[in-house]
Amino acid sequence: MTVSATPAPKTKFSDLTRMPDARGHFGPYGGRFVSETLSFALEELEKTYLSLRDDPDFQAEFDYDLAHYVGRPSPLYHAKRWSASLGGAQIWLKREDLNHTGAHKVNNTIGQALLAKKTGKPRIIAETGAGQHGVASATVAARLGLECDVYMGAEDVQRQKLNVYRMRLLGARVIPVESGTRTLKDAMNEALRDWVTNVDNTFYIIGTVAGPHPYPLLVRDFNAVVGREARRQSLEQIGRLPDALIACVGGGSNALGLFYPFVEDDDVAMYGVEAGGDGVETGRHAAPLASNAPRGVLHGNRTYLMSDEAGQVSDTHSISAGLDYPGVGPEHALWKDVGRVSYVAANDKEVLEAFRELTRMEGIMPALESAHALAHAKVLAPTMRPDQHIVVNLSGRGDKDIMTVAKIDGIEF
């Protein structure tokens, strides 16, 4: 496990709830590093969002959609059989996989779709890795009658064929991106190029807590419903707060969503699990925090960013398309530095084991992204007592990954 190299124990965790500052900075991270053409659109989005953030009508509309369209609250499920077999802490799964469209991603797209509606833009664009955010975006677009174009790395189009077809059925156009490494970061480059060209009529729905300010803020806010529910459910079902939270971290939206409402609960330990790929020590991974990558600037914010000595962004490797990204949300970068969250990595092999284990022992097939969090639960739970409790964010369901797993098993359909 890699813990922060530069702990700053003096920083009170309560300060973390006052981030970002007015310019979108989380300490040295975050910000708005974009070409000038987009500055206006981001200022406009920030103004719109800040005016609605505390507006009861907007919140009511959001809550209504989450309840009746997404199906919230999602259950907190006690995985008793799996907990017993691991022989340590009790594991509770926050069932974001049961949301409409199958992942936490929809919480954010519902929120951003409401913003798109307020701004009156007739077209939305999105980038996607695993396709979950693309599906969630195509879904809200269908519901609101908006045109929707989704950028997806050509490699991910191959890995996630099922989601590509889902998006097309929903009426979205999926645009394969052939540049660079043909994965999530390149999809985001292309979405930004589209936005800069069509900024007048287009709302860009970013799928994680990255990008330029105000995206890291609003995506966190829209996903924080996960942590608010989990906190309340823990008190009801466990009778107290859990001892630890675990979530996978790609850009970091499901993790921040779960963690944020617990940030001031000093006794609740938090673990963010990045994609270890072939193993962090091999260099073939997507774990900027756990590997202590240098600071860098990409896609509008400063964060930990995997890049070479000349500042060229590195290729990443992961079994899971949704975590295959060289950067990470800027708020996580700060939380690493102040030591609030421990960032660790799970490698592909451990992830597959966890995927199979949960499927066989609990009848729940997790997304490969979420299986990273489960893999760390496998490590952590046995070190804890049976009267201790871990909440794991089961950020999505594994239907989309069946082809990937089948291929590893040597099965062709």
Binding site: R32, E36, N189, L192, G296, G311, Q312
Partner: protein, 267 residues
Amino acid sequence: MNRIDQRFSELKQQGRKALIPYITAGDPAPQYTVGFMHALVEAGADVIELGVPFSDPMADGPVIQKACERALKQGTRLIDLMQMVKEFRQTDTTTPIVLMGYLNPIERIGYENFADQAASAGVDGVLIVDMPPEEADEIGPLLKSRDLAAIFLVAPTTSNERAATICAHGEGYLYYVSLKGVTGAATLNADDVAEHLAPLRGMTDLPLCVGFGIRDGATAAEVAKVADGVIVGSALVNRIAESQDAPETIAGQLKSVLAEMRTAMDA
């Protein structure tokens, strides 16, 4: 005096407009870049924008994306650009050079180190596409103290309020992005450009240079009527791409593309 200011004051006296070519350093291979720079000067370049190749050029269209890919394939790094500028300066001590690129390579070698190296190599200005003035607090003073001009972009979407801030921070010249889009996109609309430049005149004495969408003598001449300078990138980089397998022919082609613009602008 900074070479950029010097050059624009000369141009003003002569009643001429600046012609500013952009090429990506290291494209198609690092050993050609300095030769291309000299060729551009011979064809009438007043300032050279030297592109720093980046793995994720978010504001660029396919032409410059591919140029970055070619340059990176040849291993071109920011520190190699410093060597190129040094070499160029051995025989050309007057043509201003602006490094143009994205922030991460600079972030990685460190702002102060970058500013030191750029100044000692003979760079005159720096344009970081993904760094608006709001994010330039830290690097700004480091550039200024070394007489490196911080050049900023103004876009068609920039509000007057923002434009005033940018003008207050900008040095060297203002780079007006003629259209909403990436480099190498559609042709610009000169009337539209003129309309956007007018309010900027009231905010700043900086020369106003226009880039994006200038592809030939005709568009260059049209823009030169309303702006102080014309920036041309993709039209040149396209030639490099087309002749990447015959690199010895490229300098000549760049010269002819640029000379045509020069003639049209000066007519």
